[in-house]
């Protein structure tokens, strides 16, 4: 039986403190590594920055774990090694992101001006043009695609999670959604184009056709993310609601959806960000124009990615100006996508169920 009076045995206790490397040790290793790297890699081998970094990395990855092993013991040494490797892969992964951002910003920022946002390319040869038409095209086509995809996607997910319960029909839908997820965007574009050709004849181009193509890409993403979010709502909450005599549809609209709304909105926003940069399907469906067009149901409508594509591919004689326009448009597009991601995070935070202690 338990004996509260007996003292714990004082022998056998391992010491709780060990020798540790000072806090500056990793940084010191990095500095030493860089110095060695510069001397050995940069000067002796003549490899420049790349060789410097590679040699520095080799020094750090060898020296720090060995130093730690000597001072702190085996487990800490392994820990240091893995830490270095994790940071290295992180750094590796950051290289494309940082260099992409740097490229886009440095090449695109020069062209930005109020004029760049206010003008279209109508009648512009060389300088003086802008992306107003493409910006509006992107906003209108993506907004329409969202309007189409969100109700369809969310309601499909509600059916699958709340009503389907793994019956044959819902399994077929899930399969089709999976297939849709893998559809290449050009095929979605071809589909929308063929659909509109059937109604309006060959060569048809309109913004709405682009929205349809984007919806084909968006719907499966919305279905999937909404489904996951709805599944996360605990069954206890549904039962609590049923036990109060609340019908199922009210339980879904008033209890399940509000609980999951943060995740659903985040998923939708990310899906929007994803399709906002689509090019191929819009080339086929919405086409290119230099004019502003606010009517998605009539005539060509340019979006930012399509504008960039043509500015690089067919710049004509004003190649320099067109390239500058393309980078400016690319910067704007990246900013829009990043802003959407930030919005998704903010919305997720605002709607998330509060614990509020």
């Amino acid at each position: 039986m338990t004996d509260l009076d007996s003292k714990p045995a004082e022998t056998h206790l391992a010491p709780l403190s060990h020798a540790t490397l000072p806090g500056w040790a990793p940084w010191a290793t990095v500095v030493v590594g860089l110095v060695v790297g510069a001397i050995v890699g940069g000067v002796m081998l003549g490899g420049g920055v790349v060789a410097t970094v590679v040699v520095a990395w080799l020094v750090v990855v060898l020296a720090l774990p060995l130093w730690s092993r000597a001072v702190e013991g085996g487990r800490k040494g392994t820990d240091r090694l893995v830490t270095v490797l994790v940071w290295s892969t992180f750094g590796l992964a950051m290289i494309p992101l940082v260099s992409l951002t740097w490229q886009v910003v440095s090449k695109g920022v020069g062209i930005l001006s109020p004029q760049f946002f206010q003008n279209s390319m109508a009648g512009v040869l060389g300088s003086g043009g802008g992306i107003y038409h493409a910006l509006m095209g992107t906003l209108i086509i993506t907004a329409l695609a969202t309007l189409i995809s969100v109700p369809i996607g969310v309601l499909t997910a509600v059916y699958l999670v709340e009503y389907g319960k793994n019956n044959t029909f819902s399994r077929i839908i899930t399969f089709l959604v999976d297939v849709m997820t893998g559809i290449p965007s050009i095929v979605a574009g071809l589909f929308a184009y063929a659909l509109f050709v059937a109604f309006f004849g060959p060569g048809v181009k309109m913004g709405f056709a682009g929205s349809i193509a984007l919806s084909v890409l968006m719907i499966p993403v919305v279905v999937r993310s909404t489904e996951e979010m709805l599944k996360l709502v605990p069954a206890d909450l549904r039962e609590a609601s049923y036990a109060l005599g609340v019908p199922k549809w009210r339980t879904i609209t008033k209890v399940v959806m509000p609980t999951a709304v943060a995740g659903i909105v985040t998923g939708v926003t990310l899906a929007v960000a994803r399709v906002a940069g689509e090019t191929a399907p819009l080339l086929l469906t919405a086409g290119l124009t230099n004019y502003v067009n606010f009517n998605p149901f009539d005539g060509r409508m340019t979006t930012l990615p399509v504008f960039i594509y043509y500015a690089i591919k067919e710049p004509g004689i004003y190649a320099e100006e067109m390239t500058a326009y393309a980078w400016g448009a690319a910067l704007v597009l990246v900013v829009i996508v990043m802003a959407l991601n930030v919005v998704a995070r903010v919305i997720g935070g605002v709607f998330a169920p509060k614990t509020g202690r």
């Binding site: 609601s241 109060l244 005599g245």
Partner: protein, 259 residues
């Protein structure tokens, strides 16, 4: 308007698995009926079949008769939603709505059913229900705060307040005090006493003293053997159950010799 419940030959399934078999029981109106028995013998399952919450679980179904005021709950023309409005339930685990404040949680039964309440009526109902669940003094200054911000025991009392706010005729409670301290437990037991004059109450408990203190009748559930369905072994007035039970296994369970 409390109602009596007559159950006859009730078999309860999870898919093909027969969880509870052949229950016959008469639950009196305006009385407290306690259900006791070892873990896994089907007390919660049986309780949930009394307001058609059981069938919410995919594949779950019940066969037999549950007569409330002469009406069979499992007749084909009975709307389970209507049943649940009259027969409220408090769950084993507290489950306040995370998107709602304390105030809204109490009113959830009304609001979710789109009942219009005047502000003053709503305030009164919230206060009355929270007082009934012995939670009012603790939360009266933070009614607008999220219900999830309460401690586990407070959440359970919030769920009790939520259940009594819709004024059901029967109240089913599945181990309502298992997460509560002795003071809140005493308060809930007082509450059960008070509610008894208006409601029919069925309470599942693992606490023998509690069953003895609050209930008029007691039902003892047990498994015949592991893997076999649970069944109602004995159903008698509480006094008789705890002094002179008919069944041997009841006696050994109550006196703590097994289970």
């Amino acid at each position: 308007m409390a109602k009596s419940i007559d159950v006859s030959d009730l078999n309860i399934y999870y898919g093909d698995f027969l969880a509870v078999e052949g229950v016959n029981i008469s639950i009196k109106a305006r009385a407290v009926t306690a259900l006791i028995g070892p873990s896994g013998c089907g007390k919660s399952t049986f309780l949930r079949s009394l307001n058609r919450m059981h069938e919410v679980i995919p594949g779950a179904r019940a066969e037999g008769k549950v007569m409330v005021d002469g009406q069979d709950l499992y007749a084909s023309d009975v709307d389970p939603v209507a049943v649940r409005r009259q027969i409220g339930m408090v769950f084993q685990r507290p489950n306040p709505f995370p998107t709602m404040s304390i105030y809204e949680n109490v009113l959830a039964g009304k609001r979710l059913n789109a009942k219009k309440l005047k502000k003053s009526e709503a305030d009164d109902l919230v206060e009355k229900s929270l007082r009934g669940a012995n939670l009012w003094t603790e939360v009266k200054d933070r009614l607008g705060k999220p219900g999830m911000g309460l401690s586990g025991g407070q959440q359970q009392r919030l769920c009790i307040a939520r259940a009594i706010a819709v004024e059901p005729e029967v109240l089913l409670m599945d181990e309502p005090c298992s997460a509560l301290d002795p003071i809140s437990t005493a308060a809930i037991e007082d509450l059960i006493h008070d509610l008894k004059s208006d409601y029919t109450i069925v309470i599942v408990t693992h606490n023998m003293q509690q069953a003895a203190r609050v209930s008029d009748d007691t039902g003892f559930f047990n498994l015949r053997a592991t893997g076999e369905p649970g069944q109602l072994v004995e159903f008698n007035p509480t006094k008789k159950m705890f002094t002179n039970p008919d069944n041997e296994s009841t006696e050994s369970y109550i006196s703590g010799r097994f289970g």
